[in-house]
């Protein structure tokens, strides 16, 4: 088990390889479909994302800014929908990690190599285990997108992920896709 602590550094990211199980401690910013589309459309991010990690997640949050927020559930959402946009966010904002589920495609994989970033796979559906790792909700941006689509600034402790795409061209998803297609031929 490896550890990745805040503030995140490029050299730590470059050390990570496909198959590594990692516990993250520090800040995460949620961002999913609407956030990526808005960034792609040219609207500037309301937060500085340099050396930060984006989490593809639409949490269940109750409460408000006055009373404070409580995260009731916070697992990853399917990442492939951000495939058209993710590499741009890596290029324009200098993010070092993307957490999601299901993996991403060749554009993102190239982005990881070009800009020094990793794709980290959280366990899909494990919303309670992952919500327990959230120690505080520090801020929220772009609430007009609706609660699941807003940017939530979270502090996490030992948040468990598996590296499935690294900054050196490695992708577990490409590998499993190819091997399972090959294997299927035997049974048709």
């Amino acid at each position: 088990m490896k550890k990745l602590d805040y503030p995140f550094k490029k050299e730590d990211i470059l050390d990570l390889r496909v198959g590594d199980m990692v516990l993250i401690t520090g800040k995460l910013f949620t961002g999913r479909d609407a956030v990526h589309k808005r960034l792609h459309d040219g609207v500037k991010s309301p937060v500085d994302l340099q050396n930060q990690i984006i989490y593809h997640c639409g949490p269940v949050v109750i409460g408000d800014k006055k009373k404070g927020f409580e995260v009731k559930a916070a697992g990853p959402t399917t990442s492939i929908r951000e495939e058209p946009y993710q590499w741009e966010v890596m290029r324009d904002y200098g993010i070092v990690g993307v957490i999601g589920k299901g993996g991403m495609g060749p554009k993102t994989l190239k982005g990881c190599s070009d800009y020094g970033c990793v794709y980290m796979h959280a366990i899909g559906g494990a919303a309670q285990v992952l919500a327990e790792k959230i120690k505080s909700v520090d801020n929220v941006y772009w609430e007009d997108l609706g609660s699941p689509e807003a940017i939530w600034e979270l502090t996490v402790e030992e948040f468990p992920v598996v590296i499935t795409m690294d900054a050196h061209g490695g992708s577990l998803h490409e590998k499993v896709q190819a091997s399972s297609e090959e294997e299927l031929k035997k049974y048709l």
């Binding site: 009731k72 559930a73 399917t78 919303a127 577990l172 299927l184």
Partner: protein, 374 residues
């Protein structure tokens, strides 16, 4: 006899006509009087019934004018209580569905965990899944943050009031969203606005079905978007897959869907499949297959064989939990059929994630929960 009856009918009809003409000729004030009389009549009847059952003493002591009013009040509260009871039962159904995995699913998940090799990412994923199931139940909070499409399947006796039931469902869904059993998950497809507390066109999705029993049975499925997105519909023959219009073609289509889904649907998952139907009915039926218990064996021998074969073959492909690679890709497969047109042959596949949120209740006469169905 026939003539007599006919005569009698005529007399009744005449009287009725007289009554109506009288009524219509009278002014509004007169109508009010009639209304009052009617209320009194109903009230008296109610009073008699309630007096027998609920409050003998009160009825005897009370003055005749006051008694009816009191009885109506009692009945109203009873009716309101019935509505509240349905609301309570629905809210509890939503809570339990969102937070607790049904026993038949938990069993196969634990079996899958033990199958995976130690110290692999697959085993790691299954262990987190196991911990998540325990934690969600303990905290009574959603297993998965995507509380999904809210699908109700309601079986009810003849004469059931679907309109009133739907109203109470909407109320319960709003409340469940407010307290966090459900995420705000309903987006206006044109404006992108998400402020409907899960009530809007198509949400929640309620399927009514009349049955011969006297009881009301409500099944609920919360189906997340990740797994819904990897569902697929095939029109056979499909040249690219070499899939013809037979069970072997169906098999090829289903296996193609599994390989295309990889880990994106939060595997290991369960497939609901429909062979036949039109495009719409095929998908609806494929989801209804997911209402079957996992240990339920198909009564059609060919389908039973195909269900088993799909699971075994899928688990040889090495896709594994979350698509990390591993031994369990699929936990189950349920296949049903609908008739088709000679021109069409659809295979519709719905993928359900491991966070298989499906529960059901049968209700007592007073709308409280009689028993859980899963």
């Amino acid at each position: 006899m026939v003539k007599k009856k006919a005569k009698a009918k005529k007399v009744v009809a005449k009287k009725a006509v007289k009554k109506t003409t009288k009524k219509t000729t009278k002014k509004v004030a007169a109508k009010k009087v009639v209304a009052k009389k009617a209320t009194k009549k109903v009230a008296k009847k109610v009073a008699k019934k309630v007096a027998k059952k609920v409050a003998k003493k009160v009825a005897k002591k009370a003055a005749p004018k006051k008694a009816p009013a009191k009885k109506i009040a009692v009945k109203k509260t009873l009716a309101k209580k019935g509505g509240d009871q349905l609301f309570d039962s629905l809210l509890e159904l939503i809570r339990k569905t969102s937070a607790e995995i049904p026993g038949d699913i938990q069993k196969v998940i634990l079996e899958a965990l033990h199958r995976e090799e130690k110290n692999t990412t697959a085993e790691y994923a299954m262990n987190i899944i196991k911990a998540n199931i325990e934690l969600a139940k303990k905290k009574s909070q959603p297993l998965c943050q995507d509380t999904g499409t809210i699908l109700f399947y309601v079986s009810h006796p003849v004469g059931f009031n679907q309109t009133e039931f739907t109203k109470t469902v909407h109320k319960a869904v709003r409340k469940a969203t407010e307290v966090g059993f459900l995420r705000q998950n309903s987006v206006d497809s044109l404006t992108g606005k998400n402020d409907s507390m899960n009530v809007g066109p198509g949400h929640p999705d309620i399927h009514f079905h009349e049955h011969k029993k006297n009881s009301v049975e409500i099944k609920l499925m919360l189906k997340g978007g990740g797994c819904e997105n990897v569902g697929a519909q095939y029109s056979l023959p499909n040249q690219a897959l070499g899939a013809g219009r037979d069970l072997d073609g169906v098999r090829k289509a289903i296996l193609d869907c599994i390989v295309k889904a990889q880990g994106k649907g939060c595997g290991p998952g369960v497939l609901g499949v429909c062979i036949g139907g039109d495009r719409g009915a095929g998908y609806v039926q494929s989801k209804e297959q997911l209402l079957r218990k996992l240990d339920d064996e198909n009564s059609v021998a060919d389908l039973k064989k195909l269900e088993k074969d799909i699971v075994e073959t899928a688990n040889k492909l090495g896709i594994g939990p979350m698509g990390f690679g591993g031994k369990t890709t699929l936990l189950g497969c349920k296949i049903g059929t609908l008739n088709r047109l000679p021109a069409s042959f659809f295979v519709s596949v719905s993928y359900m994630c491991w966070a298989y949120r499906r529960q059901g209740v049968s209700l007592k006469g007073d709308n409280s929960i009689a028993k859980w169905l899963y």
